[in-house]
């Protein structure tokens, strides 16, 4: 079974995000970068499938030079090889542009199953997985918390509002991962050492036959006009009282009479 995992490097969710001077991008200096947490689930699931069924796990990322750290992390977790699509012309791609690049890379490699996070926790587009599947002309199952491999088919347990729906698709297929799927392993020290020797191939858009005008900042369908911080709230109003009863009564009174919420 050939499994390909699409990974992205994103700012740590515990970090503050600051708007850059251009007003349309975020500050990239003094940010801690991590593997997108949903993509970690995808790497972990791929490793478990390989452990159970055999085969190989290739991780693919499109990003600047730093994205190689995330690929090395996936290799240290246990992936077999990595492909890094790195090209200045790919920078600033929107979700469709990124999907176009990733799909072009996938067309050049064997795959039975593609896994990726349901969204990147940076731009929160929730688009790249389904868009890659569409460009490859294969089915996809999104928001999956359990994967079952049958003969030539895959079952994904999809989380929807208020329940779970089990959907079956023929392979090859793409699955996007949701929290609850597994607990990703940490890279071990021997794993980190081994990862340094695992193959990591760097490719340009030209290598993939992708026209730079259709991707990157030039090919954006969605144009960012401005980034803003959410409006600040007024200072908190503390509610006190002599007893829990008094505090509760005042809180309920305020929510009822002033905020008119209950």
């Amino acid at each position: 079974m050939n499994i390909v995992v699409l990974v992205k490097q994103v700012p740590d969710t515990e970090s503050l995000v600051q708007i850059a001077a251009d007003g349309v991008s975020i500050r990239k200096d003094d940010v801690k970068w991590i593997m997108n947490p949903y993509d970690e689930l995808a790497v972990e699931e791929a490793l478990r499938i390989r452990e159970a069924k055999g085969g190989g796990v290739t991780v693919v990322s499109c990003g600047g030079p730093k994205a190689q750290e995330t690929l090395r992390t996936a290799l240290a977790m246990g992936a077999d090889k990595a492909v890094h699509i790195q090209d200045p012309a790919a920078e600033g791609a929107d979700a469709l542009g990124t999907a176009r690049i990733l799909a072009a890379a996938l067309k050049a490699m064997p795959f039975d199953l593609i896994l990726c996070g349901q969204r990147g926790v940076d731009e929160d587009n929730v688009q790249v997985g389904p868009a890659v599947a569409e460009r490859l002309g294969i089915p996809h199952l999104s928001f999956v918390i359990k994967v079952e491999l049958l003969d030539g088919r895959v079952r994904g347990h999809r989380v929807v509002e208020g329940g779970t729906v089990v959907v079956e698709a023929p392979l090859p297929a793409l699955l996007t991962t949701q929290r609850g799927l597994n607990d990703p392993r940490y890279a071990s020290l021997p794993g980190i050492m081994k990862a340094k020797k695992k193959p990591l191939e760097v490719k340009s858009l030209a290598d993939l036959g992708v026209d730079p005008a259709t991707v990157g900042a030039a090919g954006r369908k969605v144009v960012v006009r401005a980034l803003k911080l959410p409006p600040a709230r007024q200072a908190v109003r503390m509610i006190g009282g002599e007893t829990p009863e008094a505090v509760a009564a005042e809180l309920v009174r305020v929510l009822h009479e002033e905020a008119k919420l209950i």
Binding site: P11, T13, E14, S15, V17, P37, Y38, A95, V121, E123, D124, N125, V126, Q127, P130, A131, A133, E134, P139, L141, S142, F143, R155, R158, V159, V160, E161, G162, G163, V165, V166, V167, E168, A169, R179, G180, K221, V222, V223, V224, R225, A226, L227, K228, L229, R233, Q234, V236, R237, M238, G240, P244, V247, A248, L251, V252, L255, H256, A259, L261
Partner: protein
């Protein structure tokens, strides 16, 4: 600009999800502002009652995509049906609810049409005749204003944010023929929670708990029952195994926008604050007066949730009689 607004509704088992009324109402407002028409799309198998119901929200035309292959949601079938029904000149804007299903469908359909998609919008404005979409990124730490210069344009709108407005209309219902063969996927099982719990992303009020609950959510459940609220949880409460992943609010969980968010024993990690900061009013109850949650709250109570919450529940019950 291309003509017409299309609002794609969502139903499950013959009942509209609330976001359907939100996209239809927003579609009507935008169509009025542009002096153009609103088409409401209903999808499923046996959707006549829904095609009638959606007329309460003011469409000029209803497009009923009615086919046995659309009985259960499968993205390939829904994408194909939508692509067939909306073939030809693209409308000015296609609206869809950013639910689990709507995000999935919007993403695949956008790729099919090579269309710009503004995902999970919280506001749509017209400025100088162009749509400006506001969409939170980084779980809500940043708000992006984006445009989509060329049609087709798709906006998936966050549930529970846009105003519902009834505007009874008499719209013609069109039922285009659909060719849906060879759909590769099959729904083999549905396990739905029938307890009537309120979905977090649709809830008006959320009572949420963190590490400070010590795993005891009973007082939160009781307050939620009294308020008609949903119960959420912080990542640490989920990581401890106290609550299901589906209950998690935050940058790596659900991003919610209720009118009232009651944070109980939640210190206020940045990734949690990101997921609930678009709540209209935030109440924080925490033992630690220095907890970061108080900086994001409108009302704060320093105290023990196990002493205070039962009294709040009593007071709410007394108020509601």
């Amino acid at each position: 600009m291309a003509e017409g607004i299309v609002a794609v509704t969502e139903q499950r088992d013959g009942t509209f999800r609330k976001v359907s009324y939100e996209v239809a109402s927003e579609g009507r407002r935008l169509a009025d502002a542009l002096g153009t028409t609103l088409t409401a799309v209903v999808m499923g198998s046996g959707v006549d009652p829904l095609a009638a119901e959606i007329q309460q929200y003011g469409p000029d035309r209803v497009l009923a995509l009615d086919h046995p292959e659309l009985a259960d949601y499968r993205v390939e079938a829904y994408t194909e049906a939508l692509a067939q029904a909306l073939a030809g000149d693209p409308p000015a804007l296609i609206l869809i609810g950013a639910t689990v299903q709507g995000k999935d469908l919007a993403a695949r359909f956008a790729a099919r049409r090579d269309a710009g998609l503004a995902m999970d919008c919280t506001a749509i404005e017209l400025r100088d005749g162009a749509f400006v979409f506001t969409r939170p990124m980084f779980g809500g730490k940043i708000l992006a204003e984006v445009t989509i210069p060329e049609a087709p344009r798709i906006a998936a709108v966050r549930p529970n944010v846009l105003r519902i407005e009834r505007r009874p209309a008499q719209a013609a219902v069109a039922k285009p023929a659909l060719a849906l063969q060879g759909i590769p996927t099959a729904v083999v099982e549905k396990r739905m929670d029938t307890s009537g719990r309120i979905e977090l992303t649709e809830a008006d009020i959320i009572v949420s708990g963190g590490r400070g609950t010590g795993g005891n959510f009973a007082p939160l459940e009781e307050l939620a029952a009294a308020l008609g609220a949903a119960v959420g949880a912080s990542r640490s409460a989920v990581d401890e195994g106290w609550r299901k992943h589906a209950d998690q609010v935050g940058q790596t969980g659900k991003v919610v926008s209720p009118t009232l968010y009651v944070a109980c024993g939640i210190s206020g990690a940045i990734q949690h604050l990101a997921g609930m900061s678009s709540s209209k009013v935030i109440v924080a109850i925490n033992k630690d007066p220095d907890a970061p949650i108080f900086a994001k709250a409108d009302y704060g109570v320093v105290g023990d949730i196990f002493q205070i919450l039962p009294k709040v529940t009593e007071a709410v019950k007394a108020l509601k009689g």
